[in-house]
Symmetry: C2
Subunit: 364 residues, 2 copies
């Protein structure tokens, strides 16, 4: 298929196909080794020869073949970043952190999306492994169950055998004996802090907007923080206040609007994400409720746009970019022997960013 290049009388360039090392060597009147040496610049080559080779390379627009190189062991290392959906604020920040740190180390960054499908996640990871990725970073929560753990454990081992590293980012560890790097943020703590703040402001009926039918680790942690805060304040948790809802704006709007039609049995809403908070805010306003005068509102993620909501959204800040950088750093440092396995589990802090959407509980 790749054609007649190299045949007598036809060069790769005449042919319209990519020039190979051999073509360059022929043109420069040297051996392939010499061209390779000029390219790698890791071995003495006579000035005159070097010039001739460089000239041929330029004239033929030679572009090295990564695959052939990789096969010989000289790899353009890549870091793979696997996420659900590239849209939607927060993960993009993680991606940026990953990109940044990877670029700093001269590595390429592969980004793949899974659309929330665990099956696809596995297949994508496999593809990355085939590509020889130095690290495979999985971002975002998952439905945590036995099947998931078994498969992820196998994946971690397989990756390790390939000389790669699995990184769980914003997702809890699956066991200390599993060869995986874990970079978490204090998901539960952030939710605890937010809920506490609402409780301190006098709220007792706080709607948690965002439980899932199949709860992911992300929701699980936030819900746990919410419940723990209630418990610590001696407030009994009311299951009716744990409202099913997805991460998106639209779903939050619909769910809350629906609920408000029936009853308004809460004085504060803790939305599982800022996007959901935006939807909740719109729903509240459309129902004639003012935030924070009538109902207080809290978000989670601290996306850039939280500040443009009115009132400005009080939310939980997550160091997403740092999460991405750390993921790359830990995984690669380990490979290079510059970090120990002991340092391969990190939890970054979260904190509430106080803005304007939470007020004291209105009397009556």
């Amino acid at each position: 298929m790749s054609g007649a290049a190299g045949q007598k009388g036809r060069t790769a360039v005449d042919d319209g196909s990519r020039a190979r090392l051999r073509d360059v060597a022929e043109r420069a009147g040297v051996s392939m080794s010499t061209v390779s040496r000029v390219l790698a610049d890791n071995y003495p080559v006579a000035q005159a020869t070097r010039q001739r080779v460089l000239r041929a390379i330029r004239e033929m627009d030679y572009v090295a073949n990564t695959h052939a190189r990789a096969l010989r062991g000289v790899v353009t290392q890549t870091v793979a970043f696997v996420l659900n959906d590239i849209r939607g604020g927060s993960f993009t920040q993680v991606a940026h952190g990953v990109e940044e740190e990877a670029a700093r180390r001269g590595m390429l960054c592969l980004i793949c999306t899974t659309q929330g499908d665990l099956e696809r996640e596995l297949s994508v990871v496999r593809t990355m492994q085939e590509q020889g990725a130095a690290a495979v970073i999985l971002i975002g929560g998952v439905a945590d169950n036995a099947a998931y753990r078994v498969r992820m454990t196998a994946t971690a081992h397989s990756l390790e055998a390939s000389g790669s590293r699995l990184v769980l980012c914003g997702r809890p560890s699956i066991g200390d004996d599993v060869p995986a790097t874990v970079v978490e943020y204090d998901n539960e703590g952030g939710a605890y802090a937010m809920t506490s703040r609402m409780l301190v402001a006098g709220h007792r009926r706080i709607l948690f907007l965002g439980t899932d039918p199949v709860p992911t680790t992300t929701v699980g942690g936030r819900l746990a923080g919410y419940r723990r805060a209630l418990a610590d304040f001696g407030v009994e948790a009311d299951p009716a206040l744990e409202q099913a809802c997805g991460f998106g704006r639209a779903d939050a709007y619909d769910r809350l609007t629906g609920r408000l039609r029936t009853a308004r049995d809460f004085t504060a809403v803790f939305a599982v994400t800022d996007l959901a908070a935006a939807g909740a805010l719109a729903a509240l306003n459309d129902a004639g409720l003012k935030v924070p005068e009538d109902v207080s509102l809290g978000g989670y993620d601290d996306v850039d746009t939280a500040i443009d909501l009115r009132p400005r959204l009080t939310t939980v800040h997550v160091p997403y970019e740092e999460l991405g950088r750390t993921a790359v750093r830990l995984a690669l440092d380990l490979r290079e022997g510059r970090a120990s396995s002991a340092e391969q589990h990190v939890t970054l802090g979260t904190h509430v960013v106080v803005r304007e959407s939470i007020a004291r509980r209105p009397l009556g």
Copy 2:
């Protein structure tokens, strides 16, 4: 370096390194070809043999080497997507479109960022070419000058020689003779429509917030649309109303706040992006000005969060996701001979989304 695997008495797996086809063959007691056939599933293999091979593959956790495959011509095709910065609304949507269409075709999507550095853009493209990307998609405006055109033309030809395709996405063509696919949106038309709308509402002094010292094609097009609308309405363009400003929220806030300290010599603001519009809105409000009662405001991009601004932002919708899908579709269809070169330049439409941030010019 890759070690002693394959030596007598040590298998790849014992060794802790990745198992190769040969190891699997040995274990299953067959030849490499047979294993290869089982894997490719493109040739008859006896049931019993197949089972034995499959078993060995599983037991050894065999993972194929993409690079070796690629060298033989069997490639996991990748589509490369090159952008400035992965954060910030709109390009992410394009990336999603690209991802979607690439995935639909079973292709991998490589995403790389350049931080706005043309030098780096070129080097990234080169790396993608080395990787054997089927298409290299460049997204976003650039400073359009002779040097850029020369280099991009060379890049396009080089890519073509590699059997790849350059795609300029949201960036104008650099000439009909250049082998590149161009997927634009009606950038100038969107700005024209927005400005017209403001003019129709009676505004005569419209601040264009977002000219650059080194204007990019994106800004250039939007500014051109702005000027053309003014001209068509017989309003003389005042250079003082073309305010230097970047794409981001923070810069817009600072610039407009600074300007408002001196004078308020406009009744409407046309921000070059929605992000800038968010900054402008905050600046206006902080200066005690109400939108749209005192000053009207228009944005560009129609990012998801434009609807959460108060007032809801009137802006120009750009079909970003569609842009990404189209980029992939055109480039790949051409490769596969399912599209002609004539169809390789497309301009998608834009339109104003009317919300609440533009009102009739206040009297006096």
